[in-house]
Point group: C2
Chain length 274, copies 2
Amino acid sequence: MLLSRELIFGKVGGPFLADDKRRELKVQSTSVQQCTAGFAQIFDQWRANATFKVLKGWRNEQYPVYAANKQLLFNVERSVSPLLGIVTYGVHMTAFVRTKGSDPTGMLFWIPRRSKNKQTFPSMLDNTVAGGISSGETPLETLVREAVEEASLPEELVRKRVRAAGTVTYVHVRDRRAGGETGLDQPECQYVYDLELDPEEHVIPRPNDDEVESFSLWSLAEVKKALARGEFKPNCAFVLIDFFVRHGILTAETEPDYHEIVTRLHRKLDYPMA
Amino acid sequence: MLLSRELIFGKVGGPFLADDKRRELKVQSTSVQQCTAGFAQIFDQWRANATFKVLKGWRNEQYPVYAANKQLLFNVERSVSPLLGIVTYGVHMTAFVRTKGSDPTGMLFWIPRRSKNKQTFPSMLDNTVAGGISSGETPLETLVREAVEEASLPEELVRKRVRAAGTVTYVHVRDRRAGGETGLDQPECQYVYDLELDPEEHVIPRPNDDEVESFSLWSLAEVKKALARGEFKPNCAFVLIDFFVRHGILTAETEPDYHEIVTRLHRKLDYPMA
């Protein structure tokens, strides 16, 4: 397989980086493994030379890179992905409790605050569980793993009760808050999940790694106010808005831009995808 | 307000109708009312002269026509709308019962069969309640009205229990099954609703007008089979697929085109909208 200069070159850095930051990428290979290894050598050099600031966030996690025909081209270190302008995939789950039967105004939400040491969006509010999908992992397996790792939720309970509820898509344009180079396109597709918890069971998410500072149970009114104040990490706000749409909290009668919001939450990403 | 020849001319009939069927539309007016009345004269003539077959389905219902800036231009008889290529709006509700707690595999669905005398898609399967939103009506008021008219559901119960759950968008290209001219673009935006019924309450939808032949309570497996056989009116199938996505019945693990289906169900309509 030959990845032509044109396929990749236009993406690395794009128009937002100074000329001396642009790089040509070309690897000649017949297999995903060889291609992955060939590019990895280049990326390792970039890291060693501190060519790009975003590589300070090196994760040792592999993300897939697809061609337009859904073919897997190669895998790439997660922190390199913004430089390639590829779609990355993640999972976001909202855990909630009902206190007024089916009436959504009685919902309570488990809201985590991100650790103040997080590289991106420190101390901002987040969805109950969220994480990136690595190469070869399915959305559900990622979700179960992250629910245990980040929120100490029992695996069996998550597998039994969690409900997939679609996807949310957007293009995050990296700014200063995200660290590293600004202006890079990061198209993302998040698989969204709901987890309804029974108040009688007293299942409480608790921090388990250094990602989350604390979890609190917030009323719908409190969540809305925090959204309005911009306290949520932006893509987590999208996921909550999608939750509000799906559960009849945000309606056409209360929001003039209702159908436009619904459409934009599911926008077509004009990039090769899985 | 001047509606330029260019604005409307390209839409009436479009490239699919023979030249002698094309019409120029031009009305000079400063108000929505005058514009509506001016066009209505032309449409009434078309109806009298049987210029277009779709006008055989004259409904005496007014639909809104918007400019790109969301401004209301004029209202138009419903059956004329396919000739103008404008977005029309409707409501679709899925009434269901849970028999296995939160496990969606235990869901039962109230499925109506359309009357064999319906002008469009006779005898096909439908969503529990569906209808077009007339000029000046809100989605929720349309839904409540149609739930009473079409399915004999108690108004109070519908108002209390129904949950808005987003929109579904698509472009219906009129074919022979829909009657009238073929190949006309009909972009549509459907506001979708869920109504969960309590099996203990024995609320049963019943036909109330000549739209529906009968309602039956179908298992999820039966609904899936009927979908696979193409027995549902196509836009009702979209609404059920969206329901399956929102309730975790259709998942990324079981459907390779999952995120593409989710995106397409909420496609951006490249037409002026409300």
